[in-house]
């Protein structure tokens, strides 16, 4: 049985960061609070906030913040885009709810990528081939989305596959863009 039928958009505003895009507030016709721990366990890049019992998901440049009664979404192209995305989330929420017996719910905070985490996952050779003074400096710029992981050349040496995959998976789990061509 479906948990919700639909999200109803009740407010449309221009994005603060990007005025060519919109942000929307939408209410759902059921309480999705109970499904959030299951979504937290299954949606890549989800960040659960136990204080507000909300779930934040970044995807393709958009950000969704789900709470018991609905969702706020930012950086959507237009109203049609918002409706399409929310329809997709309605289906995802209902599928997750139906499968909840097979999912271990999680109330843990999602991965918030830090420079230290990235640093620990790098080959840490301080080779400077990326143009940065140190691996830690590179990690900080990577977390800030100022450089690409493709600038770390030792990561793409033949013997570093395990290190590379671990870093890419860490980034992906934190909702970051990763070059999918190098995930295997």
């Amino acid at each position: 049985m479906s948990l919700i039928e639909r999200f109803e958009i009740i407010r449309v505003l221009p994005c603060i960061a990007d005025t060519a895009k919109i942000r929307v507030v939408a209410q759902c016709d059921g309480d999705i609070g109970e499904v959030l721990p299951y979504l937290n366990a299954t949606v890549k890049g989800a960040t659960y906030n136990p204080g507000s019992h909300s779930l934040s998901v970044q995807r393709d440049g958009m950000r969704f913040n789900f709470f018991s009664g609905g969702v706020t979404a930012v950086k959507l192209r237009d109203l049609d885009h918002a409706r399409t995305e929310l329809q997709g989330w309605t289906e995802r929420i209902n599928e997750t709810w139906e499968d909840r017996a097979k999912i271990t719910p999680s109330l843990e905070r999602g991965v918030r990528l830090t420079a230290l985490q990235v640093y620990k996952a790098l080959p840490a050779s301080n080779c400077r081939q990326c143009g940065e003074a140190s691996c830690l400096a590179f990690a900080a710029r990577l977390v800030a989305d100022e450089v690409s992981v493709l600038s770390c050349l030792p990561l793409f040496e033949a013997e570093k596959r395990g290190t590379r995959l671990a870093l890419l998976e860490l980034m992906e789990s934190a909702g970051r863009d990763v070059p999918a061509e190098f995930l295997s």
Binding site: D60, E146, L150, F156, A158, D177, P179, A180, E181, S184
Partner: protein, 381 residues
């Protein structure tokens, strides 16, 4: 009027090709592996197409051409087929960070199967240093794969120099020439490659058909299990109609190469000049002189590429954000990132890829529309 500036994604089949495919579907429908009259006719059609494709790439023998379902399969066959054929000799592959997904994912599959892959960096224009290839090769290396022309920025690699190095060290060289074919000369002897991939729909042929040129004697294992078609390297009853279309497209491309390149190069330069003069913030990525004559990759600061593509589409203009295989996601292009383009800028890049049907009027209209959109955006911002 709809202006199509996305020829690196695909090209509209030449009307002559469309007629030939249609005719072959109804008249040359036999199975080429059978002995009867329909089979013989199909076999003759295959031979003619093989000869036409061989002529386009300067192959010594038509038999060096293996037909595939497209560029992706040709890349997979070249890479996986060679590596498995030489697995007794080694387990190491050298490629670059900017290859098409068909190459990178083939390499990723090999990694899962126990091979090791070195991904070489490129410079700010997208070029791999041939000496980096020499340094990366080890006694365990069984294949080097470096693309001829990049699909996103049009940069041409020094494949002949890389081929010379590969011969010196005794390692086969594969080059993905999918984007180069029909746009710049591709002569297998000049390239000094051992395997060359191509795809019909990039040079006004049909989709769903491509080819792999394999140098005589190059070790190769089939990657599909099945019959003995294509000299045993590519099982499956051949798509005779598609192959007929590919052959004709190859013949037409060969005849039109020089004039076509001159035409699109002139228009591409006109497009870039128009944008550069009016929009100081834009930046071209890759090389204009010496790259593919039809390709221009430009960043538009302040824009998301997808938004600009959709805005242009609403104005009747088709452009790309990079690899067509990457559409549907806004993750920045791995090619631009590997070239050192910052992620934010890489998300604002459009790829214009011109074709022989484009006109000056279309280019001028595209420039005018882009200037209007950018002005609107500046006001909105």
């Amino acid at each position: 009027m709809y202006i199509y500036l996305d020829h690196n994604a695909t090209t509209r089949p030449d009307p002559e090709v469309a007629v030939a495919v249609s005719r072959a579907l109804s008249e040359t429908w036999g199975n080429p592996s059978t002995l009867s009259e329909p089979g013989r006719r199909a076999r003759e059609a295959l031979h003619k197409a093989r000869t036409q494709v061989a002529a386009l790439v300067g192959a010594l023998e038509p038999g060096e051409i293996l037909f595939t379902s497209g560029g992706t399969e040709a890349d997979n066959l070249a890479i996986r087929g060679t590596c498995w054929a030489l697995a007794h000799r080694g387990d190491h592959v050298v490629t670059t960070l900017v290859e098409h997904a068909a190459v990178l994912r083939s390499c990723a599959l090999l990694e899962r199967e126990g091979f090791r892959v070195t991904y070489l960096p490129v410079d700010g224009f997208g070029r791999v240093d041939p000496e980096d290839v020499r340094r990366a090769v080890t006694p365990r290396t069984v294949l080097v794969s470096v693309m001829l022309a990049n699909n996103e920025v049009g940069t041409l690699n020094a494949v002949p120099e890389i081929g010379t190095i590969c011969r010196e060290v005794g390692v086969p060289l594969h080059t993905d020439a999918v984007q180069a074919m029909g746009r710049t000369p591709v002569e297998v002897e000049t390239l000094r490659a051992d395997l060359v991939s191509l795809s019909g729909h990039k040079f006004y042929g049909p989709r769903g058909v491509g080819a792999l040129w394999v140098r005589q004697g190059n070790p190769l294992e089939p990657i599909l299990g099945g019959g003995r078609q294509e000299r045993g390297f590519r099982p499956g009853t051949e798509d005779v109609a598609g192959i007929v279309g590919l052959g004709l497209a190859a013949e037409l491309a060969r005849g039109r190469l020089v004039a076509g390149a001159k035409h699109v190069s002139r228009l591409r330069n006109r497009l870039w000049e128009g944008l550069r003069e009016a929009l100081p913030g834009v930046r071209a990525h890759g090389v204009l002189a010496g790259g593919l004559p039809n390709t221009l990759n430009v960043s538009f600061p302040g824009w998301g590429a997808e938004d600009l593509v959709l805005a242009l589409d609403a104005e009747g203009i088709a452009v790309g954000t990079g690899s067509a295989c990457s559409t549907g996601r806004t993750t920045p292009s791995h090619v631009l990132l590997a070239m050192g383009v910052p992620p934010r800028e890489a998300r604002s890049c459009l790829r214009f890829s011109l074709g022989r049907g484009n006109t000056e009027k279309e280019i001028d209209h595209t420039v005018a529309v882009l200037l209007r959109l950018c002005a609107t955006r500046e006001v909105a911002a």
